[in-house]
């Protein structure tokens, strides 16, 4: 059984095959355009995801804190204004944090809640003395906020009794190894002998130097915050939904609730600007490709004037002629997107082997998500169709007699 194409695709493909040079040119243009778009999109998506991932790797999506104590101007009975000095920065607990944690956990979009008690302390070993941040956590719950187990370079991320987890910089500064002892001293005069059960490297020197994880009760007693917590850390399902979740929580609790999007507003703005300029580039490329396809097809319609007249004389309707040229546009778009995706994949491979991180690992993965290829194919086919619209309508409207008479 022979493959017998219906009229419109049959003639469209034959016309494309016949106009070899033109077809090659528009295919090359479309391929290049699709490659640029797919390459840029994949690259920027990956890099942005990496940046966000890195930022959120050591940070809660949403943090609930006690209401800030702000400076207030108090006006006394005589009308004299006096500045009320802020109270000394004293650690305060989130009021009724257990019920607030339950409320947060029940909120749509929230996937994890972890209470944290944090306050300043000194890590002391021999003569050395370092300023650190004591972090009282429930290791099991905190892991769902920051994936600490992924950053461990020694031991495990587990706190229990006086067992603690510290960062690699602090360990280096104080010459501490696993199972070594470490003393923490607090401004209030309390102190405690800890045993290091784990060392992490979170990819941030400052945090590697400052964070000292202990159990929640130990931190509470050392920091004079019995039964209290200084903040609740939250993880949300969709990271870009964090602000909305924070707003809802603030409304429901009246507490200070910040999302990572607020804390990193500048980074987000930069990412958004990058996305906008990427969209701009993509739009221009789409327009240029569309103009390329359209102009080549317009020329082709003029060249094929005689053939169109013959086909019409043999009974081909206007809509059949219209289809012939629309299909040419769609085929160019579809085939161009296929070649373009291949080219983009090659480019990604080449560039990922050229551009590397400081540690030698590739800056981005040379992979192409199938959904990008599908999307490129869909968009390119639609753009091809749309660009063929004007030439196709011209072809359909052509007077068959004129073609035949000449």
């Amino acid at each position: 059984m022979k493959l017998r194409l219906p009229f419109a695709p049959l003639v469209a493909l034959r016309f494309l095959r016949e106009g070899r040079m033109q077809t090659l040119l528009i295919l090359a243009g479309t391929t290049g355009g699709v490659a640029v778009i797919v390459f840029l999109t994949q690259l920027i998506t990956q890099l942005q995801a990496q940046i966000v991932d890195r930022v959120l790797g050591s940070q809660a999506h949403v943090v609930i804190r006690p209401t800030e104590e702000a400076n207030r101007r108090a006006i006394d009975d005589q009308g004299f204004a006096s500045l009320v000095e802020p109270r000394a920065q004293r650690l305060r607990s989130v009021d009724q944090w257990e019920s607030i944690a339950r409320l947060a956990a029940g909120m749509e979009g929230v996937t994890a809640v972890s209470p944290v008690v944090t306050g300043p302390a000194f890590a002391v070993r021999g003569q050395a003395n370092k300023s650190v941040a004591l972090m009282g956590v429930d290791a099991e719950r905190y892991r769902r906020i920051v994936r600490m187990e992924e950053y461990m370079v020694a031991g495990r991320f587990a706190v229990d009794g006086t067992r603690a987890v510290i960062g690699s910089e602090l360990a280096k500064d104080l010459g501490i190894r696993l199972e070594d002892k470490l003393r923490v001293a607090l401004p209030n005069g309390r102190d405690e002998q800890l045993q290091v059960g784990g060392i992490f490297d979170i990819g941030n020197k400052d945090l590697n130097r400052r964070w000292v994880f202990v159990t929640l009760p130990l931190a509470q007693s050392l920091l004079d915050l019995p039964g209290g917590v200084s903040n609740l850390d939250l993880t949300v399902a969709d990271i870009f939904d964090a602000q909305a979740v924070a707003d809802r929580l603030r409304g429901a609790t009246g507490l200070t609730v910040d999302s990572w999007m607020q804390t990193n507003a500048q980074l987000l703005a930069a990412l958004r600007n990058q996305t906008v300029s990427n969209n701009l580039i993509r739009s221009f490329v789409v327009i240029i490709v569309a103009l390329g396809i359209a102009s080549v097809l317009v020329v082709s319609v003029v060249q094929k004037q005689k053939e169109i007249g013959i086909l019409r004389a043999m009974g081909a309707s206007r809509s059949m002629i219209l289809q012939v040229f629309l299909i040419q546009g769609a085929v160019v778009g579809a085939v161009g997107s296929l070649f373009g995706s291949l080219l983009a994949f090659t480019l990604l491979n080449v560039f990922s082997s050229i551009y590397r991180n400081a540690d030698g690992s590739p800056l981005f993965a040379a992979e192409l998500e199938p959904r990008f290829i599908l999307m490129a194919a869909l968009v390119a086919t639609l753009v091809g169709l749309a660009s063929a619209l004007i030439p196709a309508r011209r072809a359909a409207r052509m007077d068959p007699v004129q073609a035949i008479r000449s």
Binding site: F7, R14, A313, M314, G315, R318
Partner: protein, 233 residues
């Protein structure tokens, strides 16, 4: 003895055609043509250059619409037909042969012959291919079925064009100077082919020619002068 009353294949009454209507250069090319052609009739259309032969043929072939008068094909008045109906009627019941064959250069001889069927049916099928091969055989080109028009001589191209015109067994064949650019010998061959198909299928034929020798061999000669029928023998 009674003559059966069959509707003529084409019937023109007071048909006019003007170009550039409403402009200062408006010109009437055909001034009230009355003409009818019966089934199986084989007629020559002759006349000086510019007399309107091609115009008349294109109008009968539904490629152009007349300005006035009536044109019926197979007893159907074409004035009331829509663009789509006109296109369909043209494809199914009229076969064209042009002076410059007008084959599609991108397709083989066989595909060119099948094209009217592909258009009418949406796609080729085995029956259409068998039929097209038989037609190519009949015009003596079976061996050239898979050649492109550019690989064929002028006479061969014109024979492919005739095979194409006959593909859908049209009731009317319109040929505009089908032998115009061929040598006498080849012209005779082509003419003989048309004549033979006319005898076999009883289709009506209207053939524009400048060759009085060929016109003489038709059943009937219609003479057009300045957009008028000057004589019909």
């Amino acid at each position: 003895m009674s003559t059966p009353t069959i509707a003529p294949v084409i019937e023109l009454a007071g048909l006019t055609k003007a170009y550039n209507i409403g402009t200062p250069v408006e010109t009437e090319v055909l001034h009230g043509i009355d003409l009818s052609l019966a089934e199986g009739e084989f007629a020559a259309l002759i006349g000086p250059s510019g007399s309107g032969k091609s115009t008349l043929l294109n109008i009968i072939g539904l490629l152009e619409r007349p300005t006035g008068g009536r044109l019926s094909i197979g007893g159907r008045d074409t004035a009331s037909l829509s663009e789509a109906e006109i296109t369909q009627l043209r494809g199914r019941s009229i076969g064209f042969v042009f002076q410059f064959h007008h084959l599609l250069p991108a397709f083989t001889a066989l595909e060119n012959v099948m094209m009217p069927t592909i258009i009418a049916r949406g796609a080729a099928d085995d029956e259409a291919e068998t039929m097209a091969l038989a037609l190519l055989d009949a015009v003596g080109l079976k061996a050239h079925a898979h050649k492109k028009p550019s690989q064929l001589s002028g006479g061969q191209q014109q024979r492919v064009a005739i095979a194409r015109a006959l593909g859908l067994k049209p009731r009317l064949i319109l040929a505009d100077e089908p032998t115009g650019n061929l040598d006498t010998h080849t012209a005779d061959d082509i003419f003989a082919l048309l004549r033979e198909f006319n005898r076999q299928t009883r289709c009506a034929c209207l053939i524009v020619t400048h060759d009085p020798r060929l016109a003489e061999r038709c059943d009937r000669i219609v003479r057009l002068v300045d957009g008028h029928i000057a004589g019909s023998v």
